[in-house]
Amino acid sequence: MNSKIYENFLEANEIARKIYYLKFKKYIGIIYLIVGAYVPITIAVSVILRTPLPSYVSTYLSAGIFILGLIPVIFLNTKLLELYKIINKLNKIIYKRDIYSIIYNIIMKILIGLVIVSSFLYSMGIDRDLMGIGGDLIVFLIIELWLSYTFFRLKFKISLEDWLAILSPVGLILQIIYPYSVLIFASIWIFSGVVSMVRAYGKP
């Protein structure tokens, strides 16, 4: 058996991963920016809509902003999908089931459970503010599912800005005390987006 064959593969894997990472930072940077911008835009619209407007206008506008943000996020995810497929194949060759896979599986199960529970609570909600928080929680939990898959399962390098983005939804609880605290999370995501884009377009 020629060990050079496998050594070449490992070296090629490192080369490919460097390129994947920069593309990934570009896509995820845009997603961070979109998610970060969504919150302040929604708040701005809700402030504007305090002027007497029919309630259905407010509902359609909120839904419109959400869909406008969702479309590019879905588009970028389809681009990331090809990347995920090949990285999964490479990981299957290189890694055995390790501690990260176990941690990832636990995190995924907890998050899926939380999405189901919060979706249920959201659908049962009677208080409009509580429903709003429930809706935000579901969106952020779905993002958390995706981020945990990306970083823990696919083993992308986690930079400071990614850690901030991963951990920031925990602070959503603060919304119950002070609704505008959601802007802190938005700021973190915008910051993460800008730093990711700088990394993607800067020197490798």
Binding site: Y6, F9, A12, I15, I19, I86, I93
Partner: protein, 111 residues
């Protein structure tokens, strides 16, 4: 992957003797296209080395090098072909099998 001979035939292909070439093919499988300058920047190799490796991949029908215009400036864009994608698939299957064989041999030696 039916037998060892077929496995070694795939892995002994001169295309796979260079990590740079394999790295380019693997990268293109995930991202579809990349410009020459982006590739050079990420690989950290000189233009001529990259050109030689790209030419080998192009001559084997694994990639296509197209010239596209961005803001009136020509840029070389590298795209993986269907043949290239299929070869990468075969290569990854072969490497996985190869690794399994090595591990089996190592386990037997330990016993």
């Amino acid at each position: 992957m039916e037998n060892l001979k077929e496995l070694m035939e795939i892995l002994s292909d001169p295309i796979f003797s260079s990590p740079i070439r394999v790295g380019i093919l693997l990268a293109l499988t995930g991202i579809k296209t990349i410009t020459f300058s982006e590739l050079q920047k990420n690989l950290g190799i000189n233009k001529s080395t990259l050109s030689v490796n790209l030419k080998i991949l192009e001559n084997n029908g694994l990639i296509e090098i197209k010239t596209k215009f961005f803001k009136d400036r020509p840029r070389e864009v590298i795209v993986i072909t269907e043949k290239g994608k299929k070869l990468v698939e075969k290569y990854l299957e072969a490497i996985l099998k190869y690794k399994e064989i090595i591990e089996e041999n190592n386990n037997e030696n330990i016993k």
